[in-house]
C-alpha cells in the first residue's frame, strides 16, 4: 500500500520517569497505515531522551522555552520549516499549548503548517481553576475546588473543606494534605515550582480511571479509550495500565469531548467513588503519555489527529480491545558526547 509521505514535528520528547507523550505519539504515527512519516523532534532540553532515539526521530531541533513567548517560537519554527518543510506540528506539553494556540493561524497561513488544537476559549474553559464551572456547564460531577493566590486566601476558604484535601499546581503536581500545616507547606512547594495560582480541591476517594480521547472540534468524539492504572510511581504516573470495558465512563467522556467541541487530543482523569459515581478531576489538553495503549487496542488517535489536521474526513472509532495492558520500562541509551555537544551548541541533531 502506498503511504503518503509527510513530515510531522512533535514536542514532549522527555521520555523519563514522568514521561512526555512525544515518543508514544511518534510510535503511533510510525505505525500509521495512511502515512509514511518523517519525524522532527522539538526539544527544550539537551537531555530529552527522544533526541537520541534515531530509529523514531529523524531530526531534532531545540526550541525556545514557552516563557520566551510566541514570537520567539514562531521565528524558530520559521527556520525549522525552511529546512524541513513541516506538514503538521503536534505539541504535547500543557505549558507550551498557549503559544501554539496563538500561532495556529500564522503557522497555517504563513508557513502552511497545520495544527489541530482547541481554540483559546475552549482551552481555557477546562483549566483546573475553571473546573467547577466546566462541570456545571457540561453536567459532569467535579470535586469542589477553589483557586488561591496566597496563604491568606487559603485561610479564607479552609473551613469550606474537610481534611484531607488536594493542593494542586496550575499545570502539574498535586499533593494530598491531611492538615493545615501540610497544606501550607505544599502550597509553597508547588508555587515555587510551577507558579501561582494554586488550586485547592476536595479529596474524593475511589478508583482512579483515565480516558484518552480525541475530538474533531465540531462536536464529534473521534475516539475514546478507558484505562485503569495498575502500577503507579511515586509521581503518580502509570507504569502499567489496562483498558476497561466501561460504557458509562466512555459515554461521560464522549459527552465532555462532544459538548465542549474539543479539538485535538486530551486526557480525562476521573475518580469512580464507592457509589459508582464518576468525578472529573482534570481534563489535560493533550494526549497522555500512555496514548500508545490506544493504538495497541485498535484506536490510533495520533494518526487520526494528523488526518484531521490535513483536512481529511475521519470516521469515529466505535470499539477497542478490552483487557489490553501496557507495561512501561526504562532503557539506557548509550550516546556519544558529540551528539550531546551538537544539540547543546547548534540546537540541532
Amino acid at each position: 500500500m502506498n503511504r503518503r509521505k509527510i513530515t510531522v514535528a512533535v514536542t514532549g520528547l522527555n521520555n523519563i520517569d514522568s514521561p512526555g507523550p512525544g515518543i508514544p505519539v511518534i510510535r503511533a504515527l510510525k505505525e500509521s497505515s495512511s502515512f509514511d512519516v518523517r519525524i522532527i523532534g522539538l526539544s527544550y532540553e539537551s537531555l530529552e531522551p527522544g533526541l537520541y532515539m534515531h530509529d523514531l526521530v529523524d531530526k531534532s531541533y531545540a526550541i525556545p522555552l514557552p516563557s520566551a513567548g510566541s514570537q520567539a517560537l514562531f521565528k524558530r519554527l520559521q527556520y525549522i520549516n525552511s529546512v524541513e518543510n513541516v506538514d503538521v506540528i503536534i505539541p504535547n506539553f500543557d505549558a507550551e499549548l498557549h503559544n501554539f494556540i496563538l500561532l495556529a493561524a500564522p503557522l497555517k497561513q504563513q508557513l502552511n503548517i497545520a495544527t489541530f488544537l482547541p481554540n483559546r476559549e475552549v482551552f481555557d474553559s477546562r483549566h483546573k481553576s475553571e473546573l467547577p464551572e466546566f462541570g456545571k456547564k457540561y453536567k459532569i460531577n467535579v470535586p469542589k475546588s477553589d483557586m488561591i493566590l496566597s496563604i491568606k486566601d487559603f485561610k479564607k476558604i479552609e473551613e469550606d473543606y474537610t481534611y484531607p484535601l488536594v493542593v494542586k499546581g496550575k499545570f502539574y503536581d498535586a499533593s494530598i494534605a491531611y492538615n493545615q500545616e501540610q497544606a501550607i507547606s505544599y502550597f509553597h512547594k508547588i508555587a515555587a515550582k510551577w507558579g501561582l495560582p494554586i488550586i485547592i480541591q476536595e479529596y474524593v476517594t475511589g478508583t482512579e480511571v483515565n480516558v484518552t480521547a480525541l475530538g474533531d472540534g465540531e462536536g464529534r468524539c473521534i475516539g475514546a479509550v478507558a484505562m485503569r492504572k495498575l502500577y503507579i510511581t511515586d509521581k503518580g504516573k502509570a507504569w502499567s495500565g489496562i483498558t476497561l470495558d466501561d460504557p458509562e465512563l466512555i459515554s461521560i467522556s464522549r459527552k465532555v469531548v462532544e459538548n465542549s467541541r474539543w479539538r485535538g487530543g486530551c486526557e480525562l482523569e476521573f475518580i469512580k467513588d464507592e457509589k459508582d459515581q464518576y468525578y472529573l478531576l482534570e481534563m489535560n489538553p493533550r494526549f497522555p503519555a500512555w496514548v500508545y495503549l490506544a493504538v495497541g487496542c485498535g484506536q490510533n488517535h495520533p494518526e487520526a489527529l494528523v488526518r484531521m489536521a490535513l483536512g481529511e474526513e475521519v470516521s469515529p472509532y466505535e470499539t477497542y480491545d478490552q483487557g489490553k495492558m501496557f507495561i512501561r520500562y526504562s532503557y539506557d541509551l548509550i550516546v556519544h558526547m558529540s551528539e550531546f555537544e551538537k544539540i547543546s551548541t547548534l540546537g540541532e541533531l
Binding site: 478508583t207 484505562m227 485503569r228 495498575l230 495500565g241 489496562i242 483498558t243 476497561l244 470495558d245 466501561d246 478490552q322 483487557g323
Partner: protein, 82 residues
C-alpha cells in the same frame, strides 16, 4: 446468585473483570465452584456436589464456601439474585 456476565474465566482459573481491570487467580476448587455457579446451580446444589466429590465435613465446607462467596461478592465477581 450468579457470576457477573462480563467476567472472563480461563481454564487456569484466571479471572478478569473488564469493567474494573481487576484480575484474580482461583485455585482448582475455587474455579470448580465458580463454574458450578456459572452453570446455574444454587448454593445448596454447589454444597452437595462439592461434598460428594471431596472428603470434607459439611460444616467446614459451608463455612469455607460462605467465605469464598463473600470474597467473590466484594470483588464484584458474584452478584446476588435481584
Amino acid at each position: 446468585m450468579n457470576i457477573n456476565k462480563n467476567i472472563a474465566i480461563s481454564d487456569s482459573g484466571f479471572l478478569f473483570n473488564p469493567s474494573t481491570g481487576d484480575s484474580f487467580s482461583a485455585n482448582p476448587i475455587g474455579k470448580e465452584i465458580i463454574t458450578l455457579i456459572k452453570e446455574g446451580n444454587s448454593l445448596s446444589e454447589v454444597v452437595q456436589q462439592i461434598h460428594l466429590k471431596y472428603a470434607v465435613d459439611q460444616d467446614t465446607l459451608e463455612k469455607d464456601l460462605a467465605d469464598f462467596l463473600y470474597i467473590l461478592k466484594i470483588n464484584h465477581i458474584l452478584k446476588e439474585d435481584e
